[in-house]
């Protein structure tokens, strides 16, 4: 065995070069220098949030429209989505593994299931809150059921629907941190990699909260853009 290579690995003085980081403290300097390493996990986290919310929205909308016509469906749908909602995400990540394996798919399936109850309930409430007179007036004008839904009821339900989207989004951001248990990546991975390093935990957690705030505001803006006739209630 060649001894020469050994001499080449430069052994630093024990104790490390950055004493703040070495003692696992909160180090603004280290954070400023190393924040780049959180970029990829943050992007993963964004995907882990947006995809489930989008799919959840599509499914919930379909269910809500179905339940709008047949009121009796509301109860059962709420019960089933309520059960999904109550299952802790960590448990769900494991329960899904025999079916979907370890990885992003499992995480996204579980995260999507949590958005269903919230969004479905908000869409349904929004639709129910449309005053009967408005609906009658629209029908009186000769609009079909579907046209009433698309042109009158849904637009009027928009604030409630958007509120549901906002809740679902911030909830999913928080839950996506646990996706690491499903092998799905995200900011949770960074937390677990060095959970004793205060700077790391603060940055990873802080980015999640920041992400939720940004997405929340974006949806709020979209809401205001789509409903100029209403001041959106936050």
């Amino acid at each position: 065995m060649n001894l020469l290579p050994l001499a080449q690995l430069k052994i630093e003085k024990p104790g490390g070069s950055d004493s703040c980081a070495a003692s696992n403290d909160f180090c603004p300097g280290w954070i400023a220098e190393n924040i780049g390493r959180y970029w990829d996990p943050l992007l993963e986290h964004v995907v882990l949030t947006l995809v489930p919310v989008a799919i959840g929205f599509a499914i919930s909308m379909a269910l809500a429209i179905m339940a709008h016509r047949r009121r009796w469906l509301t109860g059962p749908i709420i019960t089933v989505t309520g059960i999904f909602f109550a299952i802790p995400s960590v448990a769900a990540f494991f329960l899904l593994q025999p079916i979907t394996g370890l990885g992003t798919t499992t995480a996204m399936v579980a995260l999507t299931s949590y958005t269903l109850l919230i969004i479905f309930r908000n869409i349904t409430t929004g639709l129910r809150n449309v005053p009967a007179e408005t609906r009658d007036a629209a029908i009186g004008q000769g609009l079909t059921q579907r046209q009433v839904l698309v042109r009158v009821e849904l637009p009027m339900a928009t604030p409630e629907i958007m509120a549901g989207l906002r809740i679902a989004t911030s909830t999913t951001v928080g839950l996506a941190a646990l996706a690491v248990f499903a092998g799905g990546g995200g900011l949770g991975t960074e937390i677990l990699v060095d959970k004793y390093f205060k700077s790391n935990v603060v940055v990873a957690g802080g980015l999640a909260v920041l992400l939720a705030a940004v997405l929340d505001l974006l949806i709020l803006t979209a809401q205001r853009a789509v409903t100029p006739w209403q001041r959106a209630r936050s």
Binding site: A86, I87, P88, F94, L117, G174, L192, A204
Partner: protein, 253 residues
Amino acid sequence: MTPALAILGDFGEAIEFIFKERESVSGGVQIGGIPELAGFGATHMIVSVAALAIAAALAIPLALWLGHIGRGDFLATATSNVGRAVPSLALLAFFISFVGLGYTNVISVLVLLAIPPLITNTYVGVRQVDRDTVDAARGQGMSGMEIVRKIELPLALPAIFDGLRTSAVNVVATATIAPLANVQTLGEPIITPQTYGFVGQLGAAILVAVITIAVDVLFARLQKAVTPAGLKLADPAPSRWFSRPTRRRLKST
């Protein structure tokens, strides 16, 4: 494995893990079965109940008062928004690095997670009490405290229990990751697959899911029980699972 369970494959084995002891994957120790899991379950429920009680004692009186004087709109919205987005894992890791391991850490984290829904729902519940009723009571000479106790609290109970339900579910769910801080709840088999194997992880996951759903149903029943008949009739949405749209349900694990 009994033939019926064998069909379910991994799930069948997981259920068997819950009821029967078996040798650990790394060998030499007996793991699984009711006695051990009941032990984990007891720890799980103890930290959950303690945290919920503490959170309720802190949050509900505060929110009742704020709702009574009408000054808490921003706090209610802000706590619910921030509370939703903080990942429970980050909070636990934060406490591990700043406070250390053990029951204090775990219960503190659970209390922090339980407080937002309680504040928001209690506050909204009080605000939704009919103002005329409150004015009438004031006209009759009731003091502030009396109004809170005799009028607003009873009428806000359904909302309060909605908050308790959400918090209870969150707390029980988050207690699953407590083993990361040296408190062995039902999450222990999940984070120690070397010992418990994937089957153990699955079995524990099933137990956690079942218990959380049971807690959800329990509080739903309680909520229904404390809803005065009059309010139930007045509810525009007749389904018993429907809660008022302004009350937010949070989920943190």
